[in-house]
């Protein structure tokens, strides 16, 4: 199970809508060793071709974001991306390019409006995938600062 704050979810949806009809991508930052997401980080879609059905995160930009998370005592627990006019399931291409150590949150964006949002755990073999429950946390505590070490 991956836990997302309502505000984080809204930020991801806003990001997905802002890049429509292109795919957006970003990182889910969690407290160390957990799937309690405390923050999301927008990443640049670095795919060199048409971005309506592809995304690519520049490795050095990912590295820098990972170091920044480490500095804050946090972990990149997952990757989110959008599927413009396509369901929130992992495509064959997604699965082939997946890492078993991340959760993959996918937002379907039919006609520019973010909708169905699901999370997936890919297998080690790059061919299987299991759905992961998303727990949305509501309320004041929200996600900001939760799990953050001083």
């Amino acid at each position: 199970m991956i836990k997302l704050g309502r505000r984080t979810l809204e930020e991801i949806h806003a990001h997905a809508e802002s890049t429509y009809p292109e795919e957006c991508c970003g990182l889910l930052i969690a407290s160390s060793g957990s799937k309690e997401v405390v923050d999301s980080v927008k990443m640049r879609n670095a795919f060199p071709g048409p971005k309506h059905d592809r995304y690519h995160i520049d490795p050095l930009e990912l590295f820098k974001a990972d170091r920044e998370a480490a500095r804050r005592g946090l972990t990149i627990a997952g990757i989110y991306h959008s599927h413009p006019d396509y369901p929130a399931t992992l495509s064959k291409f997604d699965i082939e390019h997946s890492f078993a150590w991340y959760s993959y949150v996918v937002v379907s964006v039919p006609k520019g409006e973010a909708g169905d949002t699901r999370s997936w755990l890919p297998g080690q073999d790059h061919s299987s995938v299991a759905e992961e429950t998303i727990e949305i946390r509501e309320g004041l505590a929200e996600d900001r600062g939760v799990g953050q070490k001083a």
Binding site: G33, P50, L62, F63, F99
Partner: protein
Amino acid sequence: MTVTIIIPTALRQHTGDEDELKLNARTVSDALKELVTAFPSLRKHLYSEGGRLRNFINIYLNEEDIRYKEGESTKLKDGDTLMIVPAVAGGAHSSADDEGHDARVSFSSGEFARYSRHLIMPEVGLEGQAKLKSASVLIIGAGGLGTPSATYLAAAGVGRIGIVDFDVIEKSNLHRQVLYTESDVGKSKADVARKRLLEINPNVSVEVHKLRLDSSNALEILGAYDIILDGTDNFPTRYLVNDACVLLGKPNVYASIFRFEGQASVFSLANAPCYRCLYPEPPPPGLVPSCAEGGVLGVLPGIMGSIQAAEAIDLILGKGRSLAGRLLLFDALDMTFKELKLRKNPECKVCGPDATVKELIDYEAFCGREEEFSSDLEVTPRQLSELINEGKNIVLVDVREPWEYEINHINGAKLIPLDELPKRVNELSTADTIVVNCLSGQRSAQATRFLNGMGFKKAKNLKGGMRAWVSEVQPEMPTY
């Protein structure tokens, strides 16, 4: 050597909550082995069952991808930092997904027999053969490179093969374009290639595109295939194919040939350089001779085209280490293969972070049209023939090589090979009307410009060279 290795925060749970580790190692490979020995649960994340570093895991040494150094055998020095960085990519959907669904691929018993030598290799197997069957490859140019690559791809069972070529078969093609026979001369290359490929393997489909690839049609045509094989023989099309592949995100399996030397690489894979990273600008027009002008060993494109086919198959199977980031150089005289490492050019105008080329451009203009001669510095074969018949005093200079001159020459022509012209220029007089010829008009154009610059104001170029002379004036003369 004491080096620091930085692992992604997500893997920290496997290393006792450490994401920066110091260890002693001589090479990248040693360092990674040391790491997984110390933390065995990391192994399955970094290595496949076959013991290879997993696909899509990048290793950077001091912020540089080791693929552009010496791979896992790159040597380390004290204080180096190694970074493990996942190549995160994905996306909704593509036509390849629909067709790539293995469950939809089935084989007849005839196909099982045909592909048996593939099927018994674990690297291919039924899964790999299904990938080949559901793959599509576009071959640009059904010439020296395109005919061997198409032959092997069809035989290997690549399900959909596209061929772009608007040319007809000429006799001078037959010494290397082994898909064609004597009786095919004058027929469409694409049509004959399709017929032969289907004879080799009727289980594949072959689509022909009999047109000149240009900026108006390239994205649509290339976009319909998974992998592009560049078998072009000219720079405008080569840059067009490169840019279209980068814009579409399609792998561009490249080869080129000249005389005894060939080059091959794979461009525009994610993170890999493109043709423009290697050659940002085309050479000045006329400087690099084509095979038609400079010649090519017949078997050379057979080797280079086969390398392209092997690369395309590796890409489809997702096996091995591709030529992306490497330029393979083959010399058929010394019989050597060499390899150059290619780096992504951060200033590349088409694939760099600040790329300015966002759509296809006019590639004929980009590569430059060869400067035209003014009419008084050029004669056509008919004009020359008339001048000779009128008894005008004309000095004919043939700038080809002696063995070319032996095959055919215009009666009375003086042989001065292009390379010797500067030191033999004193054999000519500035007072004479000089007409310079070669085979196609390219070398003689250089010679004419050289002579004009040396004060031979009455030196003119024979337009179209001996090829035009034979077809327009002396059709009974042998030619090549």
